[in-house]
């Protein structure tokens, strides 16, 4: 526990000066707040920007930040120093993961409250986003574990992130894409937020999300067994 807390604290200090990661946490909340207050189009669905950017944020920020943080530590050898100091991989991943989750959650709370979501639906909205964040964090961690350095992490994270982030958006305009997109957890969570004042996930949605979570967790386990946390 002490080790996980130390990693969490380290991450707070480090991210303040790490613009590449910091921007992931603040970009979408700022965009949502700005666009929601500045661009109003007639017949625009309620909370249009919040729904769209929440899903993008939920997929993009954790995948990019987790993979970037872990791969940087692997590349620079700080992770090796931590492991030698008796920080277990689970403690390290918990420290970084909880930090990442917390930052994304703060961003989500900020953007949803600024957009004026009422308390009742807000809690259900947060639950949906938190579920997505956890899956995205595991996916980001898998990429970080698999990549030997930051460059490799970026080249892996970008296509994965694009796939999970943009499919729900494109599915709105193309039925064929929608048929494929429905098998992605991001799309199911987007559909759950369709009526944001009455958030619901159906049985099919739950099964797809659970299947996604299992596949991503299995991917993480395989990546961890193959590469471990240090470039050995």
């Amino acid at each position: 526990m002490r080790e996980a807390v130390a990693v969490f604290r380290k991450q707070i200090l480090d991210t303040r000066k790490n613009r590449a990661v910091l921007i992931q946490f603040i970009m979408f909340p700022i965009m949502t707040i700005v666009m929601n207050s500045a661009i109003k189009v007639d017949d625009m669905p309620e909370f249009f920007y919040l729904k769209l950017f929440s899903i993008m944020y939920m997929a993009m920020a954790p995948i990019v930040s987790m993979s970037s943080i872990i791969s940087e530590e692997k590349e620079k050898g700080t992770l090796r120093a931590l492991m030698m100091s008796n920080v277990r991989p689970a403690s390290y991943l918990a420290g970084v993961g909880v930090y990442d989750f917390q930052c994304c959650l703060i961003g989500t709370m900020l953007m949803s409250k600024t957009c004026g979501l009422d308390d009742g639906p807000w809690w259900r909205y947060l639950c949906v986003i938190m579920l997505g964040l956890v899956i995205s964090i595991v996916l980001g961690a898998s990429i970080g574990v698999l990549a030997k350095d930051q460059m490799a992490a970026t080249s892996l994270a970008v296509p994965v992130m694009c796939l999970f982030t943009f499919l729900p958006m494109m599915a709105q305009f193309n039925d064929t894409i929608a048929k494929v997109a429905k098998f992605f957890y991001t799309q199911q969570l987007y559909l759950a937020l369709e009526d944001i004042n009455n958030v619901k996930i159906g049985t099919e949605g739950l099964i797809i999300i659970a299947a996604n979570a299992i596949v991503i967790l299995a991917f993480f386990v395989l990546a961890f067994r193959k590469e471990g946390l240090t470039n050995e």
Partner: protein, 284 residues
């Protein structure tokens, strides 16, 4: 105490360590001297539990290396070149991360920062430190948990003589306090100056071992002494039994005439010993 018996380690088909055996007593500086690629870093990785090995056994303070727990590892200080620093964090913050892990307080951070003479750079970001300062910060991190065994992998590689000398001083102080220092280097001067005992490692095998001075004397086949006269002339004389009379009379002559400036023995250094044993240079 460290006791290593017949350790072998391979990466694929390449045998990096081949039946390595030695022992290190408490409060001793033990050197592992060899050129790049000799297997020095691999041996540190093996001894600190970072790498598994195929054959042999290794005990550190009575505990088998294969069975080291996290708590055992906390008693080691490890300074390796590829153990990076958090470049965006300050010196203090870098140490604070590890102090939190070890459960030591700010007092210990201040003590090690003083010890490595970085107390004036407490608030400086690691990326803004010079190479020498970064090495000292790495050393401070290794010293933070008051280790019983300190593993140092080429601690002064690429550093200026002043910084190297400061690091040597810190190492000696820790040795005096009873810490086992396990040091790898390809710098023969560093090995001669610091080590109580050393082994010469080449291509994963120990080729020679002993006290540095004794090792040099053991390979002193030529037995020569060198005289420098007051006018700067260097004269080399044979020091064996057959030439005893001739050599002593020559020295006496120079002394009588007041022409002798310096006189010293010409035994080989560790580089020459290593060359003789392996045909390779140390500093490659």
């Amino acid at each position: 105490m460290i006791s290593v018996t017949g350790i072998s380690k391979s990466f694929g088909d390449k045998k990096v360590l081949d039946g390595v055996s030695f022992s290190v007593e408490d409060g001793e500086i033990f050197g592992l001297l060899g050129p790049s690629g000799a297997g020095k870093t691999t041996l540190i990785r093996v001894l600190t539990g970072q790498l598994k090995f195929e054959e042999g056994s290794a005990m550190i303070n009575g505990k088998e290396v294969r069975k080291l727990t996290g708590a055992d590892k906390k008693k080691f200080g490890v300074m390796m070149d590829d153990f990076g620093l958090y470049e965006r964090l300050t010196c203090y913050q870098n140490l604070k991360v590890f102090a939190d892990i070890y459960g030591v307080g700010d007092e210990e951070i201040a003590t090690v920062l003083r010890e490595v003479k970085l107390e004036d750079a407490v608030k400086k970001e690691a990326k803004k430190l010079s190479k020498g300062m970064k090495e000292r910060l790495r050393l401070a991190r290794a010293l933070l948990a008051k280790p019983k065994v300190l593993f140092l992998d080429e601690p002064t590689s690429g550093l200026d003589p002043q910084t190297s000398s400061e690091i040597h001083e810190i190492i000696r102080k820790r040795k005096d306090a009873g810490t086992i220092i396990f040091l790898t280097t390809h710098n023969m001067t560093e090995a001669e100056k610091l080590c109580d005992h050393l082994v010469l490692l080449n291509e994963g095998k120990i080729v020679e071992r002993g006290v540095p001075k004794e090792l040099c004397l053991r390979y002193d086949h030529q037995k020569r002494i060198e005289l420098v006269t007051t006018n700067g002339e260097t004269i080399s004389l044979q020091m064996d039994r057959e030439n005893a009379k001739k050599t002593s009379s020559q020295i006496a002559e120079f002394l009588k005439e007041g022409k002798l400036s310096t006189i010293h023995s010409k035994e080989p250094n560790l580089e020459t010993v290593f060359m003789e044993l392996t045909g390779r240079k140390l500093e490659v």
